[in-house]
């Protein structure tokens, strides 16, 4: 059999079509599924950071002598899965109607790692104001 006829027979052969289709579709399906997992995990980490900061902010009320350093350590200790190095905390103090306030502005970055897709960075940011009780 000549190579040309061999090629024609191969092209005309319909066997294994489903396997070829699966080979084409599965990587795309995996990208979707892993992307959804990654996005869900990223949103969870954002909530983790938010919760850790909200909990730590209470230290300013309970223990008025809390230093910013101690606050940052408390945030790190409260985190369940997020890395403290990806969290940026900016603490500024001010006084309003005789009450000292600690404004904690924060940002958190998480990079989604999805196969075959360029890295997507999720940026979370918010702030909370905690009153510091006079000692």
């Amino acid at each position: 059999m000549s190579p040309l006829r061999h090629g024609r027979r191969f092209l005309a052969d319909r066997a294994g079509g489903a396997a070829v289709e699966a080979a084409l579709a599965l990587p795309i399906a995996f990208v979707f599924i892993l992307g959804i997992f990654q996005l869900g995990w990223g949103i969870f980490l954002g909530s983790d950071v938010r919760h850790a900061i909200e909990r730590a902010a209470r230290a300013y009320i309970v223990t008025p002598t809390t230093t910013d350093q101690a606050f940052q350590s408390a945030v790190a200790a409260n985190l369940m899965a997020a890395k403290i190095n990806d969290v940026t905390l900016t603490i500024s103090k001010s006084t309003s109607s005789g009450t000292q306030l600690a404004r904690i502005a924060w940002t958190y970055r998480y990079t989604l790692q999805i196969p075959f897709v360029a890295p997507v960075v999720l940026n979370f940011d918010s702030q909370i104001i905690a009153p510091v009780r006079s000692p």
């Binding site: 996005l39 949103i43 909530s47 938010r50 909200e54 902010a57 209470r58 009320i61 309003s96 109607s97 009450t99 306030l101 404004r103 502005a105 979370f124 940011d125 918010s126 702030q127 909370i128 104001i129 905690a130 009153p131 009780r133």
Partner: protein, 142 residues
């Protein structure tokens, strides 16, 4: 060729099946993607609103009773707030289960309990249209 013949031939025809499948699946995928694109920023907005309300709640816990000061603090703590977003502070007293005056003793001579509630209201416009968002926190102050 009769119509029945034509229909049965059409039903048996397997060509273009992939295109039909794609036409069925694509709208569903588009809805999922539109949902993610809509609800992710909405969730972020709700969280920021809640943090503003929490900040107001913490402020109340230190003994501040001035509703304007509480409202202003919550507004300051609201990241990405738009002009139409609002904070409302309401204060009331209660005797037992019923509401009562803050300045007189309850019928059983106990001091009425006092509450301060901070409510936030916002709107979010996404694929699903305009949605009302709200968050509130009540602090018992006495």
């Amino acid at each position: 060729m009769t119509n029945t013949n034509l229909l049965s031939r059409w039903l048996q025809d397997r060509s273009g099946a992939a295109a039909v499948e794609l036409a069925l699946v694509t709208p569903m995928l588009a809805v999922v993607l539109a949902g993610i694109a809509t609800y992710a920023p909405e969730l972020d907005k709700v969280h920021k609103m809640r943090e503003a309300v929490s900040s107001g709640g913490l402020y109340v816990m230190t003994g501040v009773t001035d509703p304007t000061a509480i409202r202003n603090l919550a507004l300051q703590a609201w990241t990405g707030r738009s002009d139409s977003d609002s904070i409302t502070v309401t204060q009331w007293c209660a005797c037992g289960g019923a509401s009562g005056s803050c300045n007189t003793l309850c019928a059983d001579n106990t001091v009425p309990r006092a509450y301060t509630q901070i409510s936030a209201a916002s709107r979010y416009t996404g694929v699903a249209g305009v949605q009302s968002l709200s968050a509130q926190q009540t602090v018992r102050t006495r």
